[in-house]
């Protein structure tokens, strides 16, 4: 692999920081291509994935790394001994966890806060969360993001489950920002059907019900939240461990990416761009991992760049008797303890 001396992480991060503070849409492609070039020269996996494609001439032409590969291959440009922080995908549905490695979280934190501030109406002075404690779970990117929102935080989920009574005690009667997964909120509503949040609370929900035994559609959940918990603001976040940037929106409506994150859809069969289909992200803040990511999620892209999430594809195959990758890894993990 040849190194381009004009490309280094610090220069690229500086360009992205400048973009975040004053986005110039015309600059997006140039920065994305520069980051891709940097990653091509330093990440053998990205280089191998790009071998059969012509050099990218715009951001959409950058080969997108399927998120699945984060579970099995070293994606990124940070040498092992320079990794300062690693976020891992959740282990709820697969034995193998995807890893997103950082040399520094400074750009990650800058971009998280910049876009969250645009969507959270009442910036919190404290958070009270149905999430894993980032002190004990530094691998959780979601918890880390929420921990940036206020100096005072409490966390009421552990690997063994939610601690709803403790959450209610900690919440008290003062305003707070509450970060939670959809599943955690559903469980809270089930366990505490009469609970009403104190005035001035913002409730952020994120994530679906993938891998969970119980189904709970988003519409029903939102209705139950509005009826019962009655937060001042109900807001939803879409993020992925493999991304550095997040999308924000209102539950059941569109998600809005920041200017430094572009979302597009491709036809799942042909991988050609489409208005609706499998989602791909070009995240300028992924300077040291992969600037282009291909997810397994589906959505529709609107003219303003916002996204409606569709979940799984229609006509998804019936599972049948064949083993899925998740089940295979679960079986292996049970036998070998995840080694």
């Amino acid at each position: 692999m040849t190194m381009d001396p004009s490309l280094d992480a610090a220069t690229l991060i500086h360009r992205v920081r400048r973009f975040i503070s004053g986005p110039e849409p015309a600059e997006f492609d140039a920065i994305a291509l520069a980051i891709h070039k940097y990653q091509l020269s330093r990440c053998p996996v990205i280089a191998a994935l790009s071998e059969e494609t012509p050099p990218a001439c715009d951001a959409l032409a950058i080969p997108a790394v399927p998120v699945d590969l984060f579970k099995t291959l070293p994606i990124g440009t940070v040498p092992k001994d320079e990794v300062q922080h690693t976020f891992l995908t959740s282990g709820t549905t697969q034995g193998k966890r995807g890893a997103h490695r950082f040399r520094s979280l400074a750009l990650y934190e800058l971009n998280c806060l910049a876009w969250a501030r645009r969507h959270i109406q009442r910036w919190p002075t404290r958070t009270c969360n149905l999430l894993l404690d980032p002190k004990h779970h530094p691998e959780s990117s979601l918890s880390h993001m929420v921990s940036l929102f206020a100096p005072e935080s409490s966390w009421h989920q552990s690997n063994s489950g939610l601690r709803t009574i403790e959450f209610i005690d900690a919440l008290g009667d003062q305003p707070a920002f509450i970060g939670a997964t959809s599943f955690a909120v559903a469980q809270l509503l089930e366990e505490q059907p009469t609970l009403r949040l104190p005035p001035g609370c913002t409730l952020m929900i994120t994530g679906g019900f993938k891998g969970r035994k119980r189904a709970f559609d988003e519409g029903s959940l939102v209705g139950a939240i509005q009826d019962s918990l009655q937060p001042d603001q109900l807001i939803s976040e879409y993020g992925m461990t493999e991304l550095s940037s997040q999308l924000w929106g209102e539950p059941g409506k569109r998600y809005y990416p920041p200017p430094w994150l572009r979302v597009y859809a491709v036809d799942p069969w042909t991988a050609q761009p489409a208005s609706s289909g499998q989602l791909r992200f070009i995240d300028l803040c992924n300077v040291e991992s992969s600037v282009a990511i291909e997810t397994m999620d589906h959505g529709t892209i609107h003219d303003d760049g916002s996204v409606s999430l569709l979940g799984r594809l229609p006509n998804a195959p019936v599972r049948g008797c064949s083993l899925t990758a998740e089940e295979a890894w679960d079986a292996r993990t049970r036998l070998h303890g995840g080694k």
Binding site: E294, L313, A316, P317, G320
Partner: protein
């Protein structure tokens, strides 16, 4: 006992026009799996089934998934032959072959439904699908019903490229080991628990990939791929990306072959996509397979000497390549004897004479 009627039903199915049947398979693919399923119901096989002991359950319910269209046929034949009344529950919106097979059943007491409420009607329930699905089916069965669960599993091949004796059930031009494997991967478009997810081989990876690629191309020409779901297409692309990085990939219209290393192996089947993994010995390959627990179903091979290694790895059935998706009627499936599961075994205790004395 209605074995004669079952034989006549089999013949009507073989002669039937399948063009109106809507499945996710191509017309040639559908014809091939129906013929393969009926091959297992030869006159001799039905006679042997008729001779096995057991008392018919009054009413049986067979619950199938949509991935393997012909999965029910052998069960229906055995249950009907023994004299049971049979209800075939298909997945909602995916009747597949069910309506045609019921229409062709004549006076045989076979009905089809998509309604879950049929499950408690069975004195015996044959449940097929994912582990979660069969668990739900068991919960829905009536108290005291016998439920035979066939949950998720996977199958693989061990290929040494050793010629096998001619097999009359396999097309003449698909008799070589790699082509037999491609035929196994083509039936049902590579879905279901008997499909080869991976071929382990002691041959050099590039050589094996080239041979299998040629065979997959030939299989595609003979049995064109049907419909691929978007989610499957995504997963194939992701695996192709993986193979590009860590191994070898070859693909054509409707098929792909991914050469991977042992550490990147996950036994997850994708339509017409076969992983190839180099393993110096059958024992090495079996060790790799056994790390994924007890879900190993069928191993197709051209190396009969390797059978003991695969048995030790927990495989429930070892067969020649080309027969993975063509199981015989009297066989072990998921650890149980298929024929035995279609009848209640009853006997008078043989110690009466001793007791009298």
């Amino acid at each position: 006992m209605r074995w004669k009627e079952v034989a006549a039903w089999r013949d009507r199915i073989r002669d039937a026009d399948l063009s109106e049947v809507k499945t996710h398979l191509s017309p040639q693919g559908l014809r091939a799996i129906v013929d393969a399923a009926l091959d297992a119901l030869g006159d001799q096989q039905l006679r042997e089934a008729a001779a096995t002991e057991g008392v018919a359950y009054p009413r049986a319910v067979v619950v199938t998934a949509g991935t393997v269209e012909t999965a029910a046929i052998e069960w229906l034949a055995l249950l009907l032959g023994r004299g049971s009344e049979v209800i075939w529950k298909t997945p909602a919106g995916q009747p597949g072959l069910a309506r045609l097979l019921v229409d062709l059943a004549g006076d045989l007491p076979l009905a089809t439904t998509e309604d879950r409420s049929s499950i408690p009607l069975g004195d015996v329930v044959i449940a097929m699908g994912s582990d979660a699905a069969v668990h739900e089916i068991r919960s829905a069965a009536k108290p005291g019903a016998v439920v035979h669960e066939h949950g998720h599993a996977w199958s693989c091949a061990w290929v040494t490229d050793t010629p096998l004796p001619h097999d009359p059930l396999i097309p003449q031009d698909f008799q070589s080991p790699w082509r037999r494997l491609a035929a196994d991967a083509a039936l049902h478009d590579g879905r279901g628990c008997l499909t080869p997810v991976v071929a382990f081989t002691p041959l050099p990876l590039n050589e094996a990939i080239a041979s299998l690629a040629e065979a997959m191309e030939s299989a595609q020409a003979k049995w064109p791929l049907g419909m691929i779901h978007g989610e499957e297409a995504q997963m194939i692309r992701a695996r192709r990306a993986m193979a590009r990085v860590v191994g070898v990939k070859k693909s054509g219209e409707g098929w792909s072959v991914h050469g991977l290393t042992v550490e990147h192996f996950v036994p997850h089947g994708l339509p017409r996509s076969v992983m190839v993994i180099h393993a110096p010995t059958a024992e090495d390959a079996a060790r790799c397979a056994s790390q994924f627990g007890s879900n190993l179903s069928t191993v197709g091979t051209d190396d009969v000497g390797a059978a003991h290694a695969w048995m030790a790895a927990g495989a429930t059935r070892i067969c020649p390549l080309g027969r993975m998706q063509r199981p015989p009627l009297d066989r072990i499936h998921d650890g149980g004897r298929v024929i035995a599961q279609t009848a209640r075994l009853q006997a008078m205790d043989g110690t009466w004479s001793v007791a009298d004395s």
